[in-house]
């Protein structure tokens, strides 16, 4: 984003690349009628890992899944499954020979088959003879044994979603792809469903790639998250690493409420309008940046807000929104910067009142070069 880059090595401290990769994508390119949708994409997924592709809509997430499933050719690079080349420009192993399962956004249940027939669709007859109980086991796993003879149109949204999951798990795919599987389910049920999904996937030990544009969903379900923007990987890492150590303002803002507040580094102290921060508390800010303006990323939970007298105050609460368990405030600081902070619902800070915002971070903070240079 900017020329000024941190000098120190950033996290993740854990290795980003899985030791035992099931899927390896190298330098993949994909164009649609002249537009580059994916450019130079490389990543791999380890055995049993739950990797999430997170990014705004239209970022090429679904295209990646379709390329992995063999439903689309690629224009550059390669895709390997279990060390075997399955896609390269001009070469494609057909979807039925890849062992890749997929749950489509619209679920694509076969309307003319019952739940049981849908689930057994991908199991070949030889396997069914050996394990006649396989369909029942899968239905039990997703808690739908009682719906075995129903048709898809008789099921609720959540039930359909579970049938689609069971169906794609049935042939024991080496990789399972999930394309926004919760998009048609109402918000309340979604949280329960994703917990359930994670349990099922971990029980079966399935290697999974999950696509979503919902950051909360991504952070809560995944082992590792890959953030995509315009067909490129913006950053990848564990949910904690991404949340705490975003490498770009885009990642920082995409993962939650983020405010960037300017500070001036002098020796070991950075001074901001809300008080001073020790340089050691800022990740990767070394002495070489002395006498420089930087911006520090604050999340609402790094800050404390309280009512105070106009004399002591450093800002005005200009906006408030109830988030349920807490209230989110936007405060216009006296130097014109805007910051988002939260307070318990019991606090009674009226709008347009004078407030004091102070820094209360216990962890390390991230910093960025100033966005407006000069």
């Amino acid at each position: 984003m900017n020329d000024l880059k941190p000098l120190e090595v950033w996290p993740p401290l854990r290795s980003n690349d899985p030791i035992d990769p099931v899927l390896e994508i190298e330098n993949m390119f994909k164009n649609f009628s002249g537009n580059q949708v994916l450019s130079n994409l490389s990543f791999s997924v380890g055995k049993g890992e739950l990797l999430t592709l997170l990014g705004p809509s239209g970022g090429g997430k679904t295209t990646i899944l379709r390329c992995i499933a063999g439903l689309q050719e690629i224009d550059g690079g390669s895709i390997k499954i279990h060390d075997e080349l399955v896609s390269s420009p001009g070469m494609i192993v057909p979807p039925e020979k890849r062992g890749v399962g997929i749950v489509f956004q619209n679920l694509a249940l076969f309307p003319h088959l019952t739940v049981g027939q849908n689930v057994s669709f991908g199991i070949n007859s030889y396997d069914l003879e050996l394990y006649p109980e396989k369909v029942d086991d899968l239905l039990k796993l997703v808690d739908l044994s009682h719906k075995k003879d129903c048709y898809p149109h008789e099921l609720s949204g959540g039930q359909k979603q579970r049938v689609a999951l069971a169906r794609s798990l049935a042939p024991n795919p080496s990789i399972l792809l999930l394309d926004e599987p919760f998009s048609s389910i109402d918000a309340g049920l979604r949280i329960a469903m994703r917990e359930e999904l994670r349990t099922v996937l971990k029980t079966t030990g399935t290697t999974t790639i999950f696509v979503t544009h919902d950051q909360e969903e991504a952070l809560s379900i995944s082992d590792r998250v890959l953030i995509l923007k315009n067909g490129r990987i913006e950053q990848s890492g564990t949910p904690q690493d991404l949340f705490n150590y975003p490498r770009s303002r885009f990642v920082a803002s995409f993962l939650g409420h983020a405010s960037f507040i300017s500070g001036f580094l002098e020796g070991d102290i950075i001074s901001t309008i809300m008080g001073n921060v020790n340089r050691k508390n800022i990740y990767g800010l070394s002495k070489e940046y002395d006498k420089l303006s930087i911006e520090i990323l604050f999340r609402p939970e790094d800050l404390n807000i309280k009512k105070c007298s106009p004399k002591k105050s450093n800002g005005t609460a200009t906006y408030q929104r109830y988030l349920g368990e807490k209230i989110l405030y936007k405060v216009t600081l006296s130097n014109g910067e805007v910051i988002q902070c939260s307070a318990p619902t019991t606090s009674d800070i009226p709008l347009n009142s004078d407030v004091c915002v102070s820094i209360e971070s216990k962890g390390r903070l991230a910093w960025f070069p100033p966005s407006r240079v000069g």
Binding site: S33, E96, I102, F104, F110, F121, R167
Partner: protein, 526 residues
């Protein structure tokens, strides 16, 4: 985002469809193009002579008057009927809805047959009234009879479009209008009529197109319009080709206006309100039943009484109940063959339409829809001459007859085929592929079972419709090849009513089934 498959612009299946579709569309167009070329190459002096012939002008005037009168009458009957059976509080609304739709089941030429035999110079009514000293009824032949019969058997087109448009009106908007202090009449003219008139006019134009291309009714009523004149003068090529061209032009004009209204009807939001707005007529409501009662009396009861009365007549050929096996077999044979050919050959075009590719598919689609605009007599005429000139050995053979049916009823099949193909979400096939099924097994396990029901419905619709087709069958059947329809036609010609009774009942059943299919296709609310 259009997926590109490597260097090929279209996937192989689509490419295949494009090639086959273009060939089929071309074949369908050949006879009409040839007819147009023939008409154009008539020497200019002859052309002027034909156009200025008193007969030609008379035919044009007759046709326009007949079409306009019928359209207006159909609207005048259908709109109040739609209101009464949809938005009023008359009892047994469902029953009356079915009753006023029933005339659709009677092909208009059979209706005309019934009317001539009942109200004609030697008809039942005349005989009864003769005892009371009425020497002569006003003649049923000519303009009045044609308009009466055509109105009775085409108003359901307006009725159906009006009714479905009334059902899309928000019942609360009427209440809102009244609470804003707007009077009943103004509410109707400013709110209701403004919203339903495109549907009314679209229905009216369908009626106009039907009347313009109908051959049987004016022929039986001995009223000289384009279709009758073309049929009678079918061996005078120059004259009939020019008449056909004028007729085709009129039909295309009507169709193009219709498609505009149709678009505005189908693009208005299709919210299904659980209720339709209701107007309470209080003590008048019983009186309102009178209207649908009168209409269905003339449209349904009279012809049915007439036909069943014929069973008491002695037919020329043996028993009135003797089943005409040969005719049934011939009818089924040509209808089945035509339905197979049409359904199969329209599949590639439907495939392109359903998958919205290529961008110029509209040309193929429009070409294959020529049958909508071309009246049966025009197709018949084109093939008589085209066949006798270039297809010597095929002239007056079944393949040529079936080819004519293909041109005429091709559009009928595209609709249901598109529904069939669009009912298979591509994602379903993809899901099957990722579950380990190859493309061929995916086709048989997913695509085929999903497509089959609507495909069969489309097939049956074409089958039943071909069975009751009149002018093409008359003009192109091989010598000595008789079907149910030609049997009825001959009986009408010779006033042998007893011979026609059983075939007509059979044809009404066929026709009834085809209407049920057609209405099922258009939506769950008949």
């Amino acid at each position: 985002m259009k997926p590109r498959f490597g260097v090929r612009k279209y996937p192989i299946v689509v490419l295949f469809s494009i090639i086959i579709s273009s060939v089929i569309a071309g074949l369908i167009l050949i006879p009409s193009i040839w007819l147009i070329l023939t008409a154009i190459t008539v020497p200019f002096t002859d052309l002027i002579a034909i156009l200025s012939r008193e007969k030609t002008i008379q035919i044009l005037i007759n046709s326009v008057v007949m079409v306009s009168l019928t359209t207006v009458c159909a609207i005048l009957i259908a709109v109040p009927l739609a209101f009464i059976t949809t938005c009023s509080d008359i009892p047994y609304k469902r029953f009356w809805t079915v009753m006023v739709c029933l005339p659709l089941v009677i092909p208009s030429y059979i209706g005309a047959f019934a009317y001539v035999s009942t109200f004609g110079p030697y008809g039942t009514v005349q005989k009864m009234l003769f005892q009371f000293g009425v020497e002569e009824l006003p003649s049923i032949y000519g303009l009045s009879g044609t308009v009466i019969v055509l109105t009775l058997y085409t108003y359901p087109y307006v009725y159906l479009t009006t009714r479905s448009s009334l059902k899309t009106l928000d019942p609360h908007s009427i209440d809102v209008s009244r609470t804003l202090g707007v009077s009943r009449w103004k509410t109707f003219s400013k709110l209701i009529w403004k919203q339903i008139y495109p549907a009314v006019i679209a229905g009216g134009l369908l009626v106009a197109l039907y009347c313009l291309s109908d051959f049987g009714t004016p022929a039986i009523m001995r009223y000289d319009v384009f279709t009758r004149a073309i049929y009678i003068k079918r061996f005078d090529l120059g004259f009939s080709a020019i008449l056909s061209l004028i007729l085709l032009a009129l039909a295309i004009v009507i169709l193009s206006i219709e498609s505009k209204f149709h678009k505005s009807v189908s693009t208005t939001k299709k919210v299904d309100f659980k209720e339709t707005f209701q107007i309470s007529f209080g003590k008048w409501r019983t009186l309102l039943i009178g209207f649908p009662l009168i209409i269905s009396f003339f449209g349904i009861i009279i012809p049915l009484i007439t036909f069943f009365g014929w069973f008491s007549l002695d037919p020329v050929s043996g028993n009135v109940f003797s089943i005409p096996y040969k005719h049934i077999f011939n009818s089924v044979l040509v209808a089945f063959a035509a339905a197979i050919v049409i359904t199969l050959s329209s599949t590639p075009i439907a495939h392109l339409v359903a998958r919205k590719t290529p961008s110029w598919r509209g040309i193929i689609q429009k070409a294959s829809y020529i049958g909508y605009a071309m009246p049966g007599v025009v197709i018949g005429l084109a093939l008589i001459f085209f066949g006798s000139r270039y297809l010597g050995s095929y002239y007056q053979t079944l393949p040529l007859l079936i080819f004519a049916y293909v041109i005429r009823f091709f559009p009928l099949s595209i609709g249901s085929n598109v529904t069939a193909i669009s009912s298979v979400d591509l994602e379903l096939v993809h899901a099957s592929r990722t579950l380990g099924m190859g493309p061929i097994r995916s086709f048989f396990k997913i695509t085929f079972p999903l497509v089959t029901p609507s495909w069969l419905a489309g097939f049956s619709l074409v089958f039943l419709t071909v069975m009751k087709e009149l002018p093409i069958t008359l003009m192109l059947r091989p010598t000595g090849f008789e079907t149910l329809v030609t049997l009825i036609w001959k009986a009408e010609d010779a006033n042998f009513y007893g011979d026609a009774a059983l075939p007509i009942v059979m044809l009404l059943i066929v026709s009834g089934l085809s209407m049920v299919l057609l209405l099922m296709q258009e939506g769950p609310n008949p």
